[in-house]
Structure formats: C-alpha cells, structure tokens
Symmetry: C3
Subunit: 283 residues, 3 copies
C-alpha cells in the first residue's frame, strides 16, 4: 500500500535556513512534547538518511510543502522544484506565495505553475501583518487560485498566528463558502478546534484536513477518528509534519489507530492520490 | 416505553414544498453521510408509510416542527395543525414565526396558540437577513414568548447560518441569561460546539438540547453522552430530524448508546413529556 | 504520596460570608449536578470536620484561594493569612486583588506579599464591570505581577463571567503571550473550551490548568486526560473546588482516572510543589 505524506519538509536547500531547521532546540522540544524522539535524518540534516527513513516507514511519496513567512522563514519555489527533480518519483512539490501583496502572490502562484508544482501553500497567520484565512486582503489571491484551478494548502491550525483566533473555524468556513470551487487543504487540520473544524468539513466538500503532528494521542483525536470512520474519510489526509515527527514511529502509531480499513486507505493515500492526480489508484 | 421524536417533518402538505423534500438529492446526501440509507417513506413521500415506520420503530409521538425561512422553505402554521388533526394522538405540532418582523412574528405566535400548537420554532440563521440567536432584533419576540409562556424551539446547530459563528455558544448563552423564564429547545443541539454548548446547558436550566441527526457516531458524541449520563439527562431530547434520518435504524443505533437506563428514559420521552404536558408519566 | 488541593475555600472567617457558603442551596445544587453529595463539613461549616476530611482523603495541603468579586463575595487577605496561621503546615494562602482599580490592585498584591501569601487570585469576570482576561485594563496589574514575580491565579473557566465568551481561549492565550514571564494558574481549567485551552497550554509553558470541579465525568474529560498523559502532565494541577466537591469522594474518583503513574504524581503534588516552592520533592 502506498503512503503519501502530505506535509514533509526535507533537510535540503532553502529549508535548512527556515526555523524548523535553524532552531533545532525549539523543534526538538515540539517533537518530544508530541511523544517522539527526533529523527536521525533531522539531526544530521541528511537527505540520504531521510530517503532511507521514508523507505523504512513505507512512505512512498512526500509532499514537499514550501513556505513564505515572516516568522518561520521562507523557501524559494525553485528550491522546492529542485528537490523534487533531485529525487525522481519520491516527492511532489507544493510552492508558496507571499500573502502580503496580491500582485506578488499571483506572480509566485504562476511561478509555481511554471515549475510544475502541484499546489500553493499560504501561511497568512505567520506573515507580517498576520492575517486570518478570511481576511479580505487574501480574497484576490483566492480568486486567482479558484479561477485558475490552483489548489491551496493553508496552515490553519497549531500555532498558525499570534493567538488562537487565527485558527478559529469561522475563518476557513467563510472563505470556503465564498470560493466553493477552490480546493483547500488545511495543514494541522484546524487543531485544536477539532469538533468545530470537522463540522466545517462536513459542510464544505472542498475542504481537506491534514491534522499531521496534532493527530496522534492528542486532545481531539477521538473526534478526528470518529469523523474519519464516517463522513470525513474522504476529506482527511495523512501527514507527519516532518521534521517535527519521525516517519517510522509516526506511521507505526498511525497504524494502531482504530480506523476502518477503507478509511485508513483513503487517508493514507487514496485522497491524496486523487488531489494530486498521481494516478496510483488507476495503476 | 414511549418514544417522542422531537424533530420530525412528515411528507405532507406544506412540508413537501420545503427544501428537505424538494431537493431530494441534497437531503439524501446528508442522510448517507450520517451513515443511513434514506427511509422508504421519504422516497415515496407517503404518510401511510411514515406511520408504519413510526410503529415499527416504536416512535409513539412525533413533534412536527414547522418552519418559516428564507433559504429552506416555509410551512404554514395551519398545515402543521392540520397534520396533527389528521392523525389523532400521533403528532404534536410546533408552529413557526417570521423572525424578520416583530409584529408579524407576534401575530404568528398568537396564531400558533389559537391553533393549539405547543411551541414556536424560530430559525433566524436561515432567514434574510440571517440573525444570530442573541441578535437584539429577536429580543422583542423572545420577550413576547417569555411573557406569554410560549416555549421556543430554535435551530442553533448544524448548518444554521451562513457560517459557523451563527451556532456559536455565546448566542444561546446570552439570550438564555436575558430571558431566564423562557423555555428553549435547541434543535441540532448546538453541534458542533458540543463541549461548549453542554456547558451552556449546565448554566442555564431553561435550555434543552436535541442533537438529533448530529448525535450518533459523530464528533462530539462522547461529550454528549458523558453529559447525558450526568447533569444533562434532564435537558436532552431525542430526535431523528426525519426525513434526514430513518426512524427504525436511528432508534436501533440510539438504543446501543452507552446510556444509563434512567438517562435513556428521560431522553426518549420523560423530558419531552414534561415539556409538552402530555401527561404520559402520570398515565 | 502528598496531595495538594489547589482550590479549597474553607468554612472559616470571611469565606462564610461569600456566596459559596451564604447560598447553600445554590452550592449544593452544583455539588449534586457534579455527581457528589455535599460534604458534612460544608453543611456544618466546621473547620474541625474539614481537617478530618482532609486527613481521611489524604489531602496533605490545601491552597486557600481568596477572592475579591462583585457577585460572589470577597475575603480579606488578612483572613486568608489568618486561616493559614491557624493551622500550621496544612494550608497555603493565595490572596486576591480588586481588578477594577489598578492602584488598589497593586496595593492588595503588595499586601499579599507582606502577609506571606504565595500568589494572587483575580476573578475579573465576576467583577463590576466584568472583564475578560485579555482586557487592557488588567494589563497594568499583570505587568506589576510579572515585574515582581508574583504568580497569578485567575478564574477563567466554568461560570466565570456573564457569558461563555469570558472564558474563551483567546483571552488567556493573548495575555500569556504578552506576559511570557508571568506564571498563571487557571482555575476551572478553561472548561468548557477544553480542546482549545489545552492547546493554549501547549503553546504557553507559563500556563497551568486546574480543571478541579469540571474534570471528572464531565464533557471534555477525555481531552484533559489525553493531554495529561502526554504533554500537559507538567501543567495540570489537582483541585477539588471545595466546598463544591467533597474531598474523599473526589479523590477516590480522581484515583480511578486512567492516568499514567508519573502524570498522576505530577498532577497530585509535584507541579504544585514546584509552583509553591514547598520543597516536598526535596524532602
């Protein structure tokens, strides 16, 4: 069975200058609070070790999610494309765009398209100024993505903003209602507003949740799982948020979750396969 | 043991023109996402079949909840009264009122009273303009209901509004505090704000929750049940939200919920019996 | 094993004039809704009986939390200090301050310090006017506490305000971000915003949650416990909210919670010991 990791930031190129690698102590503190030990590949900043860890964990494809932020660092879209090119068949690239200037954002989105990146990632809560997902200043960017069929990844959960209101469920609920043809993947799955965000997904079929690092053994897990075993199976995505979670231990804990077989398969790869147009199901 | 279904919209008269019957595809999609197959009586729009399904499910009384909305359709109060009259002893009627004009609302409430309807249903989130339950424009209507001892049903959960803030727990919390003698039944039980709405019920003894279609196997269920087995037993109501859920399969799944016997009895009929003054407990 | 009860209001001195003793019917109604019978010591308003009940329950230290409120009554800081002095080794005192006047608040905080009280309790939601924890008018008080290393207890959960927004998670999240060196203990643990408040603690290491009366068998418990068995073990505190919960029955139910041994020990006494500088771990 394939496994598609929908949030993976490898130790390569521009990622090494972003906070998740530059501030190892902060990152490892998160990792340990989540009940994991840091992965060897993370500590060594080794792509070879990461590739080996992916194989050991059975992760067949990693979605390399770039970022353009004020507080967590940035990765040029070219770097994301280069990482994908360096490892044929192993990664899928998601670029990013600057949310503070709509013209620059559109230019970066078109750059992503030219570079063959599958989607665009926005992290408006950690920009300067920080914005909530339903901020009107983002709407021209959303409109462009909807009009040009560019799916969005958006970080709207975890510490995505100066305070917890930046991940409040109404932000995504409103923008999804206003752009019903826009496909949106929510990194961190809207955690901790789990009961609420899962209901947003119930209302909005164009929303996909990737709870990633905030899924296993954390508050809200029971609600994610209950939803995953019913209506949400088609809208949940597997992700490790690597380098925050080590791959093999994460997969092991994930496999022990009480999920129906069909739901597990959808979450691990079928939903992502369809979103990314990888054609794995057909193969 | 009697079973009182506190949210049932039969396939008869004005209900057939409302969205839940007029848009069968949308309705059936909801039904299936909740893990049910649509009821035969719904598909056939047959009252005879509904009556048979009620008998098979052990539902001894259905609360026929009318509506006056901008987006989901409307049912005249006379129609609700006629359905009750057509089937002696089987239904209890709840009328509805227009929330956009306080004079018209009061006139409709008095109409409900003349027609022998037990309560009035308001669905302010799906009116034009949509209003939250604590909107000042609703306060004259609440004041009239409180002053004339007319209990309110209010839809404040599920998709009751343009976005999830229309079901936010503070809306009901505030209006209940401001009208402490008003009896309020919350359709859809405040879902998905389950942890929060259950605490509102803890504070406000005049609030009754009817989670109906959003109860079984959905996120938040564990919190509803934990509350049901302690303080909330006296403030929870059974409902199927028919035509969304088929009666017998819903009752079967409900009966498997880990509820204390006394709590189950209260939820299935004792609380509703007392609210509606049916006198079943005395009989 | 020691047990430190982080919220205990004994039947003595000024406490007897506050609502929790003056309105016995209201208090006992709460107690029963939480699944307990009122403690004999509460009914008799007897300190001797309380001391005996503490011994029977194994509660080795009670944190006597004073209050200055508009709606629930007030206890002079001298009274808290006197209760501590009357029972050497049994209690730790937490004074309180008036949140409506920053000069008076600072004077009362300094009074607490002079009296040897360990912390200051603020209950801004039940003052006149009621304030949320992130209200700018409280910021001079927080600044004084942070600058003088005075830890704060704050009631931000349960019925702490006119409506549920007074306990909304963003209130504490913002003030903790703005005062990162201030130690804050949240009475009532942010209930019912459990999923959200636990995530605030994940982000803010200077926050400690004491869910006390809102922990056992209530909605949200599973999320508290899941967090307690992972990252939150170091930030949770045991409390009975006596006189709301009787000591021995509460401890018995607490001991049956599925907590890891190390987490239980931290919650029962190690975290409180460190916060209060009691030196029990060293002894």
């Amino acid at each position: 069975m394939p496994i598609i990791d929908f949030r993976l930031r490898p130790p390569a190129r521009g990622f090494l200058g972003t906070k998740i690698y530059a501030n190892a102590a902060n990152r490892d503190r998160y990792t340990r609070r989540l009940g994991f030990d840091p992965a060897p590949s993370v500590q060594a900043q080794s792509m070879d070790m990461l590739v080996a860890e992916m194989q050991a964990a059975g992760v067949t494809r990693g979605v390399v999610v770039g970022r353009t932020t004020a507080t967590l660092g940035s990765v040029p879209n070219e770097d994301v494309a280069a990482i994908v090119a360096d490892h044929p068949g192993l990664f899928v690239g998601v670029g990013s765009a600057d949310t503070t200037d709509r013209h620059r954002a559109v230019a970066m989105i078109e750059e992503c398209r030219r570079l063959g990146l599958a989607m665009v990632n926005l992290e408006p809560g950690v920009m300067d100024p920080p914005l909530r997902a339903d901020d009107r200043r983002l709407y021209p960017i959303y409109a462009h993505c909807e009009d040009t069929a560019m799916p969005l990844v958006i970080m709207a959960g975890g510490g995505a903003g100066p305070d917890i209101t930046y991940t409040a469920p109404e932000c995504l609920d409103r923008m999804l209602a206003d752009f019903p043809k826009l496909t949106v993947i929510c990194s961190h799955g809207g955690w901790p507003w789990v009961q609420e965000m899962v209901s947003v997904a119930f209302r909005r079929p164009n929303l996909f949740l990737c709870p990633d690092m905030y899924l296993i053994d954390l508050p809200g897990m029971d609600d994610y799982l209950r939803a995953a075993n019913s209506f949400l199976a088609e809208q949940l995505l597997f992700g490790t948020a690597y380098p925050f979670c080590p791959l093999e231990p994460y997969v092991e804990r994930f496999m022990r979750l009480p999920l129906k077989a069909e739901a597990r398969e959808r979450i691990l790869w079928r939903n992502a396969d369809a979103l990314l147009g990888l054609g794995l199901a057909a193969a």
